[in-house]
């Protein structure tokens, strides 16, 4: 998940600083929470600048009727200054003025609003305005701004907005949502048919990373629901999911989702053509060694076709000492010996001897 969160955080910071995201790609190597902290500090550095000037303008605005202030904001201030002022006004006053502004102008302001002030303002706007702003942002393809706002929307507004957004907009916005803890609840508002359509869109529009990120951020029950609805997709789509995951090394994000599947669903996944490809399986094993997700991986291995299991055993048996040691320690930590022993049986004699010689293996609980 961290790879995808890192990508999303980099996109958000690039937007904040108005630089090409590719130039900040190096940030994806840093801990995601550090990048988020940096972004929050950058928000403060940018938005807390020149508060005296803004407060003086806001002071003038306060004595005007909301309709007059809205007229001035639109005709004279422009979206940047209007948004800056909205951040200095009492949220209720800002909402009064926004209420009098054309939606298209407000949508252009949204990009410039201090993210720390969004919750207070959104809570005071009528659903009707919120819905119209969201649709303008969607039409403009401004998913990053939508991602900043969506976590603050009331259910009543969400229920009007969600059916009007395209599946790709849902994926792209969910990917960069600023309050991921809200995502599970938002997913809950979508019926199974809509979620299946979103999954289909992920396959058709090469948006699997976005879909995996959304599923990862959704809380327990909703994550399992997405996993299950994904497993019900036709083989060709699931195969494209595995290929995309392998191509971008996203096993760390996908395996915890796969582990939520029922036995039958897991078998359907295990039978996919992509999971017979030695290159894919090799990357998968190395991904598991790097992330320690043995508990998520070994149940899948158990239901892989024999030829694929042999490939996994071969790759695992060829791991260097550190990799093999990591395997043994990971298996021991989660007591997964029952799952790994059949795999060891498939290894070459030399590899098996190396595994058997490992301290973790020798000290495993008997039985």
């Amino acid at each position: 998940m961290d790879t995808l969160r890192g990508r999303a955080e980099t996109l958000k910071l690039a937007r904040l600083l108005d630089v090409e995201p590719q130039r900040l790609a190096f940030l994806e190597e840093l801990p995601t929470d550090d990048v988020r902290l940096f972004r929050e500090s950058a928000v403060a550095a940018l938005f807390d600048e020149d508060p005296a000037l803004l407060d003086r303008i806001a002071g003038v605005t306060k004595i005007l009727p909301a309709a007059v202030a809205a007229g001035i904001a639109q005709k004279a201030l422009g979206p940047r200054l209007a948004a800056a002022l909205a951040g200095r006004l009492e949220p209720a006053r800002a909402a009064d003025i926004i209420d009098k502004l054309p939606v298209d102008f407000t949508a252009r302001c949204c990009h410039h609003v201090d993210p720390r002030r969004i919750a207070g303002i959104m809570g005071r706007l009528d659903d009707d305005i919120v819905v119209r702003i969201a649709l303008v942002l969607a039409e403009r393809g401004d998913h990053l701004t939508m991602g900043r706002f969506v976590g603050h929307l009331r259910d009543s507004a969400l229920k009007s907005i969600l059916p009007q957004l395209t599946e790709t907009t849902l994926l792209r916005t969910g990917f960069v949502i600023d309050h991921p803890e809200r995502l599970g609840h938002i997913v809950e508002l979508l019926d199974d048919q809509r979620i299946s359509a979103v999954i289909e869109a992920a396959a058709d529009h090469d948006l699997w990373p976005e879909a995996i990120a959304v599923a990862s951020m959704a809380a327990g029950e909703q994550r399992a629901r997405i996993a299950s609805l994904t497993a019900a997709q036709p083989e060709v789509r699931l195969d494209s999911l595995i290929r995309a995951t392998a191509g971008q090394d996203l096993w760390e994000s996908l395996l915890p989702i796969v582990s939520l599947l029922s036995e039958d669903e897991l078998r359907a996944v295990a039978a996919l053509p992509a999971l017979r490809d030695p290159a894919v399986l090799g990357g998968l094993v190395h991904g598991v060694v790097a992330t320690g997700l043995w508990g998520d991986f070994l149940p899948l291995v158990r239901v892989l076709p024999p030829s694929a299991r042999r490939v996994v055993a071969g790759v695992a048996g060829a791991l260097d000492d550190a990799g093999l040691d990591a395997l043994a320690r990971g298996v021991d930590k989660e007591d997964l010996w029952d799952l790994v022993l059949p795999l060891i049986e498939l290894m070459s004699d030399a590899a098996r001897e190396r595994v058997l010689a490992l301290r973790a293996f020798q000290e495993r609980p008997s039985g």
């Binding site: 801990p31 550090d34 500090s41 950058a42 550095a45 020149d50 003086r56």
Partner: protein
């Protein structure tokens, strides 16, 4: 060594850097510091331009006093 560039980035951010950022090399820290500085400058000049635009709507006779009040 990237100590100088990291110090520059820290100064632009105006708060201590998150731990992971100390791993950045000099070019990366400099890129971020410059991007942050440019973003601040753009925002400041954008605000001032917007205020000047707004002042054109104020009657000419009172424009200067209002400008002085705002930029005092």
């Amino acid at each position: 060594m990237s100590a100088e560039e990291l110090a520059l980035l820290r100064a632009e951010l105006d708060v201590p850097l998150p731990d992971g950022f100390t791993e950045l090399d000099g070019a990366q820290a400099l890129l971020l510091a410059q991007a942050l500085r440019r973003a601040r400058e753009r925002r400041a000049s954008g605000l001032h331009e917007s205020v000047e635009d707004a002042l054109t709507l104020v009657p000419a006779l009172t424009r200067e006093p209002v400008r002085r009040m705002l930029f005092r």
